[in-house]
Subunit: 370 residues, 2 copies
């Protein structure tokens, strides 16, 4: 399933294969919550180098609903995406102020976002949902305290996350055997920004032999040093041969730091969300296309980029569409940002293959700060 092909310091380059679908690591997954990313379709995502995406198991179970997904033969067929599909448990969404009622030992009590119906999602229920959705990789249901919670609350959350991970694993193993499914299951490590709690959680989760390990509850507002202190504290207790996934990270700078520490996998709304606001990736750092400076700029967003948008349109035109909040501007900007980040991931992989990751990182950051 996961093969490491090259190492360069702690950075790794490999290949993850599930259900005859492959993605080279390290990789970045666009967020396709409801079965479509914002302003870009799944065929285009794949074409521009997204060999894996992440959907939201819980949200898909409400709309279109599990019955539809079953009859349409799973999410790959339904959404016409022929790459690796991860599903998130949906826990992240349930922990919003508007939806969360409470968490108990049993599971998460929250309001269903469309009809306001009160629901309880247990680890077992969540595994069943993700199995029916038909993703290649399911994620454990975890308990995620908000950033800024006190240590006691985070301690509780770590214990609950470990307990739920056990139940997820048992339930997943059972379903997998029954359905003869190849679906993989990743454990999630919580612990806020406390290195001791991250270590404790990592030891607990790693003991259960998951197919991969994720760092959850990070990149939610804490400073980057804290993010990587937490990752470093946990990563040494994760088996070397398993894929490691830093959830919610999607900026080039953070991806570089994480790859350096041995992370293989990322997801984030960042590239698509900021595209709509006009924040665009370039090899010289991010630009805000909304700025007056670009009103008469005849060059593409990034002259070294060969995406559809950069091949066809000027900054001046994209600036105009951004000022007017035109949806076609959102399409062109989203396409650029996703294409750019997939190209960036490819360049990272190449640099590891050649044993030049540090050089690549250094040059990239230097170009961005100049």
């Amino acid at each position: 399933m996961f093969e490491i092909l090259h190492k360069d310091g702690k950075a790794r380059q490999g290949i993850l294969t599930i259900n005859n679908r492959s993605v080279e690591t390290p990789f970045f997954m666009p967020v396709v919550t409801k079965g479509a990313a914002k302003f870009i379709d799944n065929v285009a995502l794949k074409e521009i180098g997204s060999d894996a995406i992440i959907c939201n198991g819980f949200i898909l179970s409400v709309k279109p609903g599990l019955e539809v997904l079953e009859k349409m033969k799973g999410i790959h067929n339904f959404a016409n995406y022929d790459g690796i599909i991860f599903t998130d448990s949906g826990g992240f969404q349930m922990y919003s102020d508007k939806l969360l009622i409470k968490t108990t030992d049993e599971g998460i009590h929250f309001k269903e976002p469309w009809h306001g119906e009160k629901l309880l999602i247990t680890p077992e229920k969540d595994m069943e949902i993700q199995s029916t959705v038909g993703s290649d990789v399911a994620m454990c249901l975890d308990d995620m305290p908000l950033y800024g919670s006190d240590k006691k609350r985070i301690q509780e959350s770590v214990l609950k996350t470990i307990e739920w991970a056990k139940r997820c694993k048992q339930s997943h193993d059972k379903t997998k055997a029954q359905k003869k499914s190849e679906q993989k299951l990743f454990g999630i490590i919580q612990g806020g920004t406390y290195p001791d709690l991250r270590e404790f959680c990592a030891r607990g989760i790693a003991a259960m032999d998951f197919d991969g390990y994720a760092f959850g509850g990070l990149a939610i507002g804490e400073p980057a040093e804290k993010t990587f202190e937490a990752v470093s504290a946990a990563i040494k207790f994760i088996p070397e041969e398993k894929p490691r996934y830093l959830m919610g990270v999607g900026t080039p700078e953070l991806i570089l730091q994480a790859v350096e520490k041995g992370v293989d996998c990322f997801d984030s709304r960042y590239p698509t969300m900021t595209a709509r606001n006009g924040t665009l990736f370039t090899n010289n750092g991010q630009i805000n296309i909304d700025k007056k400076d670009f009103e008469l700029d005849k060059t593409p967003i990034d002259p070294s980029c060969n995406c559809f948008t950069c091949k066809n349109f000027t900054k001046s035109y994209i600036h105009h569409l951004t000022r007017l909040k035109e949806p076609t501007g959102h399409i062109l900007k989203t396409l650029h940002n996703v294409h750019w980040i997939q190209n960036f991931m490819k360049a990272i992989r190449e640099s590891i293959k050649e044993g030049k990751f540090e050089e690549f990182k250094h040059n990239f950051l230097k170009a961005c700060s100049s």
Copy 2:
């Protein structure tokens, strides 16, 4: 500039060439008001067979502004569209309840939509705007009474439209000579649904020798018989050899009726606007993809359509995205509707070439009603 190649009854098939760009007639123009259509880019529009589009001269003169358009060498370069660009005068927009202050003999007094500044657009000013925007075809500034206005008001509007057309022509001839421009100018015929006023206006406008003639102020709420009574009353006074343009019409049924009467050119928001609401063209009539019937439908929107959307996605998936109002659903539906209507126009052209237009029309309408 305009060559009629085939006739079939009153229906005509020809080719319109301006500035080395050509479009076969009859043709349909997507509405690209602000330099981009909604949810589809200009390169895609051209690729799926839109060899002409219509932009709004006045709106572009405000945003991005004439200075930007001049420096970016005109609308074709700015918006990267390599087909024929018509510009509307913008009069249609100024006649909204929110913007119109009054019309005088001089021109239209109205509020600029972004800053609320009071503006006066005269025929001369409008010609200058459209010349700077750099379209291939400019439209005269006309006076457009709302549907339901009394005959006296429409009579006044006809007189004003004729008077303004004269001033547009004079001003356009002058600018054209100065700039050595190849831009064409189309006259607009008003007259509401009164055949006598349409005839009067057509005679007045035709006497001025425009490069083409448009029917304005129709398809704004009146029954279809009234639309075509008005077109029929006017069309016989327009020189046979000039292109004829029915403004604001974009449904297959109305296009067929108009082509039958000798109309060559159409524009409308209909295909893009209704796509977003879920109304989609098929060879068996329009469907509303929002309907529960399509929840589990594994077939494409139109099985005979070879657009990107129909080749890749099922009705079930499009239904799901429509229910959630997902922008990526809007993209896929817009692409289908524009592709479909351009294919429909192509089929109309083929049928005229083969002398089988009536048969085509009959079969199409029959398939839609079955």
